[in-house]
Symmetry: C2
């Protein structure tokens, strides 16, 4: 970030959220976001690859944090538990951004192109978790499934949590994990 | 489909696969696909919304078939088992397209924009399964997790299967389901 633009990224994010709230995601241009932030379009594109990215600025940091926590998780945890431990730890810090998180989720729900970007970020997170699990010695076939299960459980819990951040992310994660386990329980072998 | 263009969709799909194999997905234009098929660009866009869709023409039929099989699955099956039963049944017919499926998977793996479209189709399938599970009386929170788990298990099994269709999709699905269960097993409550 250039020295003469203190927190340009933060100003652009705030301007974008204001404009999206006022007129809806689809109606707002990058030029308008830059203008509201008192910056140029060129500066916007120095910070974000496109308009959608302004809502996913934290995704890479979150992913890196999950991977770091996963490398430190107890080696005797089952793969899904280890991944959920890491996701929950990385997610703790997000409580401070409750209002932003709620507004952001509502925007994503309002726009197919934001939902697409969200899917891509989730796929990237899942793939990073699967890789980190393989580094813990989890077999390749299991690592992908475990990462997908953990991400699904965490996403469900996080969705509940941001609608009421008074609760505890860890507790909600355990509740969603319980839901998944019960959906997998009592298995007569599936008939052919 | 217009009467004077018998199987235009099939000709376009075949022309696209040939051209993608010859020059790579990214290098081929819609005009070239139409030309190879002896049809016009306009006809292409009557059948497919964009170049990517030519590789996902069967997705909606597959989704509808899964939902139909799910509505007929035994009512005492656990949610994930019921969803896997439906996915496996709908997937049986795909064995005849082994060569096509392999070429298609390789193309998707080669292109980020095809991977994105694949994520979107999988999300649509997952959402349709979750809805069908809710119609079976599965609670909303569990239905989404069950649909995600079933789709993940099926995708893993299907990936194995198309690399060697001599095997049996049902058996591979059960093996992936076992992998997921073991990734979820031995749970000391995750430490905070």
């Amino acid at each position: 970030m250039a020295r003469w633009e203190p927190d340009a990224q933060g100003r652009l994010q705030q301007a974008a959220m204001e404009l999206f709230a006022e007129r809806g995601y689809a109606e707002v241009t990058v030029a308008e976001i830059a203008d509201r932030a008192g910056l140029t379009k060129r500066t916007f594109f120095n910070h974000f690859a496109d308009k959608r990215e302004v809502l996913f600025a934290g995704a890479k940091d979150f992913e890196d944090s999950v991977v770091a926590h996963l490398s430190e998780a107890d080696s005797d945890l089952a793969p899904v538990d280890a991944a959920l431990h890491a996701l929950t730890r990385a997610g703790q810090g997000l409580a401070a951004y409750g209002d932003y998180a709620r507004a952001r989720q509502a925007l994503i729900a309002s726009s197919p192109e934001l939902q697409e970007r969200d899917l891509i970020k989730t796929a990237s997170l899942t793939s990073a978790i699967a890789q980190a699990l393989r580094r813990r010695g989890v077999p390749a076939s299991t690592s992908t499934l475990a990462a997908q299960a953990a991400t699904a459980v965490f996403t469900a819990a996080y969705g509940d949590w941001i609608s009421d951040t008074a609760g505890d992310l860890h507790t909600r994660t355990q509740r969603s994990l319980h839901d998944l386990r019960s959906a997998l329980s009592h298995t007569p072998d599936v008939d052919k």
